[in-house]
């Protein structure tokens, strides 16, 4: 699960050929290798830019197809055009919908708050559970079956139960997110910590690191990319949970707003809501991916 490459040596090396060709360690050869390294890094940046440009182009094509399709169909209820969707979005972003309701930004804020509260609690608990399972065999044998039973269940199946137990306030929504996040985080944390090679720990110890220092600066640090990958997976799950519960049992939030717009056949606003979710999800995932890139230098290409 973690991103490190303890692959066979040389498999991922970028300047292997240079290293082979050099007769001896000398400054000339070293400078040439240095230039090679910098060129490689720059090529990586260019490739990244090309990748982003390609992705943006794909999205642009999709928008054009949508606009053309809507024009051909000519039915605003079945398929509103891009421009109509954008207009609805801009209109209701700050104006209440329906008239006695809340503006879009407020629903977005409500949904985000539910997700973030549930996500932060769920990640903290999940990482703690995973760390306990990785470090303590008894805890693993105790918790593993529980997680294996809960994990395949869609969190949505718990919605009626949480409504009965916890009502329709904020708490059941946050608990729902937590229930979805904890098993994923526990499993990915265990996998990431298990994947830290025993020799890496020994290495740190022979370099004079204390047990505590090794745990913090080597074992947990080494598992960090795997944990962040787990967070990206749970974040995606959290979005689907929150929208679903808002569709079913809420009086605010993006899911509720979409449901209302659907009831009034305001399809353009439904699309606006969906796109808001997509953009908010993308922004949160980009933040997590940014952290992942910071944590794992081999992804900076």
């Amino acid at each position: 699960m973690s991103g490190w490459h303890y692959a066979p040596l040389g498999a991922t090396a970028v300047i292997e050929a240079q290293d082979q060709a050099r007769p001896e360690i000398g400054h000339g050869a070293e400078l040439a290798e240095r230039a090679e390294l910098l060129a490689h890094r720059q090529a990586g940046r260019r490739a990244r830019f090309r990748r982003l440009a390609t992705g943006a182009a794909a999205l642009a094509v999709l928008l054009v197809l949508w606009q053309v399709g809507a024009a051909i169909l000519g039915d605003q209820v079945a398929l509103p055009s891009v421009t109509q969707t954008v207009a609805q979005f801009a209109h209701y972003l700050v104006r209440p919908y329906p008239a006695q309701g809340k503006p879009l930004w407020f629903d977005l804020y409500i949904s985000l708050r539910r997700i973030l509260i549930g996500f932060v609690i769920g990640v903290t608990a999940g990482v703690a559970v995973g760390a306990a399972m990785s470090g303590w065999r008894f805890a693993r044998h105790l918790i593993d079956p529980v997680i294996e039973v809960i994990r395949p269940l869609p969190p949505l199946a718990f919605i009626p139960l949480f409504i009965v137990w916890l009502g329709i306030g904020e708490l059941p929504k946050e608990v729902l997110i937590i229930v979805g996040v904890v098993p994923i985080m526990a499993v990915t944390t265990v996998a990431a910590l298990d994947e830290v090679p025993e020799d890496l720990r020994l290495c740190a110890r022979t370099l004079g690191a204390s047990r505590r220092y090794t745990l913090l600066h080597v074992q947990i640090r080494s598992a960090l990319p795997g944990i962040l990958t787990g967070m990206r997976i749970s974040m995606a799950g959290a979005w689907s949970s929150i929208v679903a519960v808002e569709l079913l049992a809420a009086t605010s939030g993006l899911g509720f707003m979409i449901m209302q717009a659907g009831d009034y056949l305001d399809t353009a606003l439904v699309f606006a809501g969906i796109i808001t979710i997509a953009i908010a999800g993308l922004i949160l995932d980009t933040c997590l991916r940014g952290l992942l890139t910071l944590a794992d230098p081999s992804r900076r290409r």
Binding site: W4, H5, Y6, P8, L9, G10, T12, A13, V14, I15, E16, Q18, D19, Q20, E24, I25, G26, E30, L31, E33, R34, L37, H40, R41, P197, D199, L200, L202, C203, A204, R205, T206, L207, G208, A209, S210, Y213, T214, H217, V218, R221, S222, L224, A295, D296, P297, S298
Partner: protein
């Protein structure tokens, strides 16, 4: 080892102030080859034994191993897989406890891993999230956190730069491990181990996963570094040629229960080079060791 001493030595020079030997002088010169019993050997193993117990089954990993290494000596432990050579190395490192006998390094009984006993593995085990330079600084910084290293940042930085210069990675101090070639990764791992100034280096088949060409290069590198730093090295390998090329002595391991069967002197002159493997004297020693291995 001061920073100046390390910088003063040109890493490209094959030997550092040591005369290439003329006629076969054997293992003489300024390196004490074998200290008398009871003397001040650097590493002393006294009838070391280790038995693993797993699921009610007892497996004797090594038994009755006695070995002495003088300060500055390079000893190779040679044997097939499963002969307990890695287990023995880990016991000296302090990663495993022996259940029989005693291990003494520099007059002190081994208890747990310590920076005076550096270790290198088949995989370089660099920290992937740290640059080469920060990898080298890991040991000193960890020790500073533990209160066993008093040096401040400028001092540590100067030492790290000096070591990187010595191993030929000065231009790669800001590169991450995944940006280095296999040979470079091993040189970085060596630099990191040397940054804690160990008196003993334990090497567990360090070049086993490298391709043949890089391996030869690493042999020359290690021989040069050893001449320069003059530390004791215990080198585990299953390659006869590697053992003969590097070792002052070769301890042949194997048997049931596994232990050291024979310790053979390698009377080849120093400094040695990877190219020496074709000489007649080399082949003579190699043949002798092969005979001892298959005996």
């Amino acid at each position: 080892m001061t920073a100046d001493a390390m910088r003063g030595a040109d890493p490209a020079a094959p030997s550092v102030g040591r005369v290439a030997a003329g006629p076969r002088p054997g293992m003489t010169g300024d390196r004490p080859e074998q200290l008398p019993a009871g003397g001040t050997a650097h590493v002393v193993l006294e009838s070391v034994g280790k038995t693993f117990r797993r699921a009610g089954r007892r497996t004797v990993a090594i038994s009755g191993v006695s070995l002495r290494a003088a300060a500055g000596e390079l000893i190779c432990l040679l044997g097939p897989s499963g002969c307990g050579k890695s287990t023995l190395l880990r016991i000296v490192a302090g990663a495993l406890e022996c259940d029989e006998g005693s291990v003494t390094v520099a007059g002190r009984a081994v208890a747990g891993p310590a920076p005076a006993r550096g270790m290198l593995f088949q995989h370089p085990m660099l920290f992937p999230w740290l640059t080469t330079r920060k990898n080298v600084l890991f040991g000193p910084r960890a020790q500073r956190a533990a209160g066993t290293d008093e040096r401040d940042d400028p001092e540590l930085d100067a030492e790290a730069d000096a070591i990187l210069e010595t191993v030929g990675l000065a231009q790669f101090s800001d590169a991450f491990p995944h940006e280095l070639s296999g040979g470079m990764q091993h040189r970085a791992a060596f630099a990191r181990a040397m940054a804690t100034r160990p008196s003993l280096l334990l090497m567990d088949e360090p070049f086993g996963a490298l391709d043949a060409i890089t391996r030869v290069r690493m042999h020359d590198f290690l021989l040069r570094m050893w001449e320069q730093y003059r530390i004791t090295i215990i080198f585990v390998t299953h390659d006869i040629e590697e053992a003969v090329l590097l070792g002052d002595r070769v301890a042949i391991m194997g048997g049931r229960p596994p232990g050291i069967r024979e310790v053979i002197d390698v009377p080849l002159p120093r400094p040695r080079h990877a190219a020496d493997v074709d000489t007649e004297d080399f082949l003579t020693v190699k043949r002798r060791i092969r005979a001892a291995l298959t005996a």
